[in-house]
């Protein structure tokens, strides 16, 4: 154990080290399951992301479902991965959380060993490799796909990357959504997104998009006014990763709810 830690210091990848040191800690072991798992395990649903002036906004609802059962009302699906990046997960919740944890350590491990952070492209590619490693499990029902967002100092703005079960990354312009409610969220984003809008306005856009997703998708949770459970929202700018406090999000949610009280379908976009 001791010697293993001090020898073979060739790679700065945490995942590669764990694979040789303690492979049972890694997600996506290639054991064949007796039968594919599907609806029995909790699934995470909708994540939205949109670029804003000087950064990017990412938000996720709080519901996890097992088939038609709501298994959790306050799940966290949006994670800080390092100072200038974050990810949201859709699909098998357990695999997604494990993947996010591993990826956080992967980025930090590289940064500490090398004394520099990976480039945004490097971070996106690294995540693609990890998703691809999960492909055998995905084929058996443990599907997980992330949405990765980062602030790019060279572009002085935010970037968004999506993935499929085979990896990726696919860079998305302006905005994107993943998960079962994403069809509806994307429609809302198309109509409400304004290029170069302030982070505040972009957060409002994201909360509207999540509201529309919850409106039409039973697996996506809307804002729970009774229990005061709000979406998780984070803004990433040059100043770093900032997760909005519950009080901050409550303000945006209230604005959205007030709007919808008068216009149940939300703001209308001008035709011309």
């Amino acid at each position: 154990m001791v010697n293993h830690i001090f020898t073979d210091t060739g790679s700065s990848s945490f995942t590669e080290f764990v694979r040789s040191h303690a492979p049972d800690l890694l997600p996506g072991r290639n054991e064949t399951l007796a039968s594919p798992v599907g609806d029995q395990i909790p699934h995470a649903t909708t994540i939205v992301a949109a670029t804003c002036a000087g950064g990017v906004v990412i938000a996720g609802d709080r519901r996890a479902t097992s088939g038609n059962i709501i298994s959790q009302r306050d799940m966290e699906k949006v994670f800080r991965t390092d100072d200038h990046s974050g990810m949201g997960i859709a699909g098998a919740a357990s695999t997604g959380i494990e993947l996010a944890r591993l990826y956080q350590v992967e980025l930090e491990h590289y940064e500490k060993r090398e004394g520099r952070t990976l480039s945004v492209k490097g971070k996106a590619n690294r995540l693609a490799t990890m998703i691809r490693g999960n492909l055998p499990m995905a084929m058996q029902g443990l599907v997980v796909v992330p949405l990765f967002v980062a602030y790019d100092p060279d572009a002085e703005g935010g970037r968004i990357f999506s993935y499929d079960v085979g990896g990726g990354p696919y860079e998305q312009r302006h905005h994107h959504a993943i998960g079962s409610g994403s069809i509806f969220a994307r429609g809302a984003l198309k109509k409400l997104y304004r290029e170069g809008a302030s982070p505040e306005d972009t957060v409002l856009t994201a909360v509207h998009a999540l509201y529309d997703a919850a409106d039409d998708d039973s697996a996506t949770g809307g804002p729970d006014l009774i229990r005061r459970i709000w979406p998780v929202v984070a803004v990433i700018t040059a100043d770093g990763f900032h997760r909005l406090s519950d009080e901050e999000v409550a303000g945006y949610v209230q604005t959205v709810v007030d709007t919808r009280t008068n216009l149940p379908d939300g703001p209308t976009a001008p035709l011309r």
């Binding site: 001791v2 830690i5 210091t9 945490f14 764990v18 800690l25 930090e108 491990h109 060993r113």
Partner: protein, 259 residues
């Protein structure tokens, strides 16, 4: 050429002398507590080859001696911390565990290898309060010393530690702590190294997530400008250090955890 029998005592003594000489050739590094945590200062003209490093959320590392040897220890320490934090939880990674790992590794190398590691290292952990801070110093033979308040290692460690104790008090503000460190690292009458020749970092207990922060560039320039001038205005020296910061024990080899 053949040579006769060399007793184990003599072998160990020779190894220890060899290591001590190697370490004494390098410049000193000082680590001390300040108001918000722990400060690391090393004269180091290189911007790429670090003597001071982050290991984990609350844990920092400083070393003197042969670069390739302490770099291997640093990388191993990061691996140890990351895999333990990933296996259990982030709060389960401690400086004490890391110090034990280093002690085992250094002790094994000292007894079994022909050439001992020519390094001395500090593993420091910042707590929620100053009382919960830990500073461990490890010598080339695997001995561990639990230091209080301040530590100096490397060339002229005794003289540097002596000067540091003159200026050190518990709970110094950052600028004054840096001033004390620079006073200690500068020969009397010598020129203080400019910002470009210094490697400075802190473990700041008030930071979120990762407490380690490198101070360089304009931030370090500003901080150096804030330090009380080099004019000696010594307070009544309250030595917060309960132990002498010595390099490895002289004379007979002490491979236990002395100190």
């Amino acid at each position: 050429m053949p040579f006769g029998y060399v007793s184990p005592e003599q072998q160990m003594r020779d190894k220890a002398d060899y290591a001590r000489k190697g370490i004494a050739r390098g410049r000193s590094v000082v680590v001390l507590q300040y108001e918000d945590g722990i400060l690391f200062v090393a004269p180091n003209p290189s911007r790429a080859l670090h003597k001071i490093s982050e290991i984990y959320d609350k844990i920092g590392f400083a070393a003197v001696g042969r670069y390739n040897e302490f770099e291997a220890l640093r990388l191993g320490g990061i691996r140890y911390a990351d895999i333990n934090g990933y296996t259990y939880a982030r709060d389960d990674v401690t400086a004490r565990g890391l110090a034990n790992l280093y002690a085992q590794n250094l002790g094994q190398i000292f007894t079994e290898s022909l050439k001992p590691f020519e390094v001395e290292i500090v593993v420091a952990e910042v707590g929620d309060t100053a009382d919960e801070d830990h500073i461990y110093r490890l010598t080339f033979d695997g001995s561990v010393f639990d230091e209080a308040g301040l530590v100096a290692m490397g060339g002229q460690a005794d003289a540097v530690a002596g000067r540091l104790k003159e200026r050190y008090r518990d709970g110094l503000p950052l600028a004054e702590a840096l001033d004390a460190a620079l006073f200690a690292l500068t020969e009397p009458g010598g020129e203080r190294p400019p910002a470009g020749q210094l490697e400075v970092a802190v473990l700041d207990r008030n930071r979120p997530h990762r407490k380690f922060l490198r101070l360089n560039g304009p931030r370090l320039e500003r901080l150096l400008a804030e330090t009380p001038s080099a004019a000696p205005a010594p307070e009544t020296p309250e030595t917060g250090a309960s132990q002498e910061a010595r390099t490895a024990p002289e004379g007979d080899i002490d491979t236990g955890s002395g100190g």
